[in-house]
Symmetry: C2
Subunit: 342 residues, 2 copies
């Protein structure tokens, strides 16, 4: 006889379908012996619960949403996988919601809370500047994950997990200075940026000053607004202009790995070498940086740890173990082949 449905299992066990369902779903409201017996029958009969349908149906009661800015950022890919895994382990369903650059993530979150009866929210990426009154409308726990908060945020209103972008940026620029570089070009966001761009730029400025180097505005390269931001194409275009400008520099610091790779390619196309003619450094620690030729010196963000801690804090707050928590991880300076001593 072939066993295919939950009804067959219930009949074999002499219990109701809802009891089988409770056993499968780890529901607390079931006798432990009954549960064991049901799970044994399920196993013996190779019954596979229909997970997909189950997860979707569960959406109504227990869901966590991850609102992500910049879905095309390779940096987020691994984090999303970990979010999904950890949320499913907790028997919650996982909703991934993409937020457009022009959209207000808090508005979207407020709607989602109503529509999906969310139990918690992760805001992933981008920057975050909303009035406190607005944040108070979010009546479920939420965690800001790898989000730059330039403005003073009332830390009692939310939790956060991030890197100190200022400090890490300082670290890699300081490393370049210690390698003897005095003319370090930067590829960064527009200077009125309110996101990681500003923080990483400030780290660059401080590191130069502390090493007794004047900031030279002629070698500050600003991402092109007509090219996708933080992309290889953008790093390429900005570096090409820097090279053509005739300004002198011996190193390029791009505030993300993708732009650093674009910078390398522009240098090669200009007939020069990395690191013999120009050192190049990035930020993020993508796989890409490791596999590039030459491998890119970068700040590796501990993405797995950040993602795991984000979910841990979220469930701690949901479970009322704590009200809020703020955690800052250290980045790791990874010395690749793309930088050298001058």
């Amino acid at each position: 006889m072939e066993i295919t449905t939950i009804k067959d299992i219930a009949r074999l066990c002499g219990v109701g379908v809802s009891t089988v369902s409770r056993a499968i779903n780890n529901h607390p409201d079931i006798n432990e012996e009954t549960k064991e017996m049901i799970m044994k029958v399920i196993k013996e009969n190779n019954y596979i619960p229909n997970n997909s349908a189950r997860n979707l149906k569960r959406t109504d009661s227990k869901a966590i949403a991850v609102l992500i800015k910049g879905i095309t950022n390779p940096f987020f890919s691994n984090m999303i996988k970990i979010f999904e895994k950890k949320i499913k382990e907790k028997k919650y369903s996982f909703i991934l919601q993409h937020v457009d650059d022009r959209e207000d993530e808090v508005d979207i979150a407020i709607e989602l809370i109503k529509e999906k009866k969310l139990k918690g929210i992760v805001f992933l990426g981008g920057h975050f500047s909303h009035p406190d009154e607005k944040l108070r409308q979010l009546n479920v726990p939420f965690v800001l994950s790898t989000i730059a908060t330039i403005e003073k945020l009332d830390k009692s209103l939310c939790s956060s997990v991030s890197l100190d972008d200022y400090k890490e940026s300082y670290k890699i620029v300081d490393y370049l200075c210690k390698q003897g570089h005095k003319k370090i070009a930067i590829i960064t966001a527009p200077l009125d940026d309110e996101s990681i761009g500003t923080l990483r730029f400030r780290g660059y400025v401080s590191a130069l000053r502390d090493n007794g180097i004047e900031v030279d505005k002629n070698i500050i390269g600003i991402m092109k607004s007509n090219i996708e931001s933080y992309s290889m194409d953008n790093g390429y275009a900005v570096t090409k202009e820097l090279l053509a400008s005739g300004e002198e520099f011996t190193a390029v610091y791009a505030i993300c790995d993708s732009m650093a790779i674009g910078a390398c390619k522009a240098i090669f196309d200009y007939g020069k070498r990395v690191p013999e003619d120009y050192s190049v450094a990035g930020f993020d620690g993508l796989d890409l940086a490791k596999f590039y030729n030459p491998s890119i010196t970068t700040i590796r963000q501990p993405v797995e740890k950040i993602a795991e801690e984000t979910i841990k804090i979220l469930f701690d707050v949901i479970g009322k173990k704590k009200l809020v928590e703020h955690k800052t991880f250290q980045g790791e300076l990874v010395i690749g082949q793309s930088t050298g001593r001058i």
Copy 2:
């Protein structure tokens, strides 16, 4: 006076809030002059409709879902952006649903149709082998986009947009043969794979045979099951083994660009050069392939065109302009610096 709400606009226009809403949403059921007047007032007062909330609320009535397998594939990133743009242009809301490798996308789609009252579905990526009876349960139009259909699929049941993976793979391997390579290693999926892996492998086999070259099973590298499939890490590990095996080969064809980049890195770490010692070719035409050093010879998939055509066909079927449509795009052989004549 500051104008902030839709109510203010309605009051200024002397109409109801629902009329303003109809004007904003391009609803057909509104007098053209009234609409123009309202849009003028909106513009004059710099009123910005709350798009986010609007889109979410609209979910109930008009939504398209994109079900994606392999959200971490950089290949899909640009496609998702185009899907979102085109779907929003049509005033539909856009739902991105991630499907796990172990989940059944049709089950998920059936649930979503009920839950969200979907008007249409795009299945993106992966392979697709479901009994016809199951597909008939999908009672809204759907399009398979860049999906490998190995099994005979009843073409009257659905629409599709794709590349001919067999033919394109043949094209790039034939190119390597014509460059004088006779020992061409491949990095591919397990041979019982039912997805693009099999199609691209078959193209490799046919191209070799047509060039009078025996398939040598000792230089068929299979992705490691314990490493993320189609990743740089996997390409690296497989190539490392091929190099260490002592088998002779002069070219490596990886069935995706990420693995081709891993292959290059393994060759560099082995102390050899690309293309002087080994030619390397990939597939997909990622930005990465263009920016790598050396740039990677590859088959560029016209992702933008594929994405646009997918949405066009979906709306043609929704609008009953046609029942189904099947469209196959040509890939472009892009000759990079990673391959050379032997």
